[in-house]
Symmetry: C2
Subunit: 308 residues, 2 copies
Amino acid sequence: MSAGDPPWALALHGGAGVEPDRNYDRAEAMLARLVLEGEARLRSGEAALEVAVDLVAEMEASGLFVAGRGSGRNALGQVELDASVMDGARRRCGAVAALQGVASGVRAASAVMEATDHVLLVGDGAARFALSHGLEPIRDLDRWLTEPDGYDPADIEQSHGTVGAVALDRAGRLAAATSTGGTYNALPGRVGDSAVIGAGTWADHDVAVSCTGQGEAFIRVCAAHTLALRVAGGDLAEAAAEAVLVSVAEAGGDGGLIMVTSQGEVTMAFNTPGMKRASVSSRHEARVGSIGGALRPALRSQPQTRGQ
Amino acid sequence: MSAGDPPWALALHGGAGVEPDRNYDRAEAMLARLVLEGEARLRSGEAALEVAVDLVAEMEASGLFVAGRGSGRNALGQVELDASVMDGARRRCGAVAALQGVASGVRAASAVMEATDHVLLVGDGAARFALSHGLEPIRDLDRWLTEPDGYDPADIEQSHGTVGAVALDRAGRLAAATSTGGTYNALPGRVGDSAVIGAGTWADHDVAVSCTGQGEAFIRVCAAHTLALRVAGGDLAEAAAEAVLVSVAEAGGDGGLIMVTSQGEVTMAFNTPGMKRASVSSRHEARVGSIGGALRPALRSQPQTRGQ
């Protein structure tokens, strides 16, 4: 960028806790496509909030991640969605938890933020609100889970990982969005950090953060907010992220996080064997990776998911 | 206390947002009774966590506050309880939200912390867990709401305020508990800060915090956790509390908070006309108040609530 251009940045995650012997090519291809889409939109001046929410909604719809159509069933066979969004510029946020019967957790969370004075709606009340607000219902859960548009059912059986996006737009606004579709066979009504503002999601005037991993540990240390205050206090982004992940580990969990700062700096950190992730900014070309620390360029010529 | 004695402290709140022209004598009498009970227990070496949870459970059962039997009905006529607890010594926490059919939110939150690996259970799943765990069910909601043991139905119609307790025990352990029974006529499934670790409740090795007020604003600024990190960073307790309440106001809300520190310091702050509250510590005698800044001694000879 030239000296006078405002910085912008985008990072996406598709879940930490990857297994080194599994193949994440399809998920990486999706992340590459989305980070390039996000790059184009941020370059054109679109708002961080819209870009973050839309990209998370695309990840939900893909069936490749444990969110939206890739969600896992709880011990009762239900699918409960947790999601949250935060608009750092307005310091507004919205979240849903244990949401059933609605296709997109992140769009429901966004609707809570935009259309109510509330922050968090859960359970039946969240579903009632979302459906009355015109959000897409799930009419046939079995079919919805197994036939996402244009994707292979095999992707869904192998779906893995919470999803999230953080963005800084050219107007200096930061936003974060996180979505998950539950832990397989979990206790019904269990909510992890993805729906908890301050734990799994945070955005203010300095940073935007989205976390993934064992949600209880992220809640116990108020992970995303701790990271934000450390950076606001002058800590270097990478060091602050590592320190937060140490405290998450001490609280009994592992996982990872993505962060962008108001300066356009991108941090993607994890204490697992890897994290599906992608980033781009006014400082660096689009890149993508999943296992270990290696990242490679995110190219338009990568294999696209079926049906694209 | 003598120089070698370890400090201990206790603070209770029964809700901010009091109205200057209302009479809170009954609520104050209850708070006085409970703070003296807590004093005796902490002096005898009981654990902060048990004391905080038990005192909140007593406030829930009284019908005098908008928690437990004093809860308000949502727009569907349901009673949904939100509560959370945090044990600073173990950095463990538990919470429930939109819990129906169970008498004590704080005991359900405590059970989540003690009996599961989870932090937050909501809705039907929370109820199923709590009832299977042996917690007291609500068999007849109308009767439960209108006939709390030993209290006057008139108290319940005038019930007001979220409840909370924070304690430091003689072993240096800090704990916080918060419980609410909804905003009258609120959107079903709406959850405020009382169930959100970091927003309405926090405890670690330095402080224990419980908040009350317009919950959405407390979530937007991650109020309890912000206060904890400010104090850990060296801010004076009173100044830190005031700064957090300023940020809560900027986020569109008012309310109050109580905090005890590992040194036995008690802070009770609010940006409303008052807050029902009581405190005692190794540094000061038991005191109680509701409107404005005035506190008076909490005496055993105060008028007791009917049936006591």
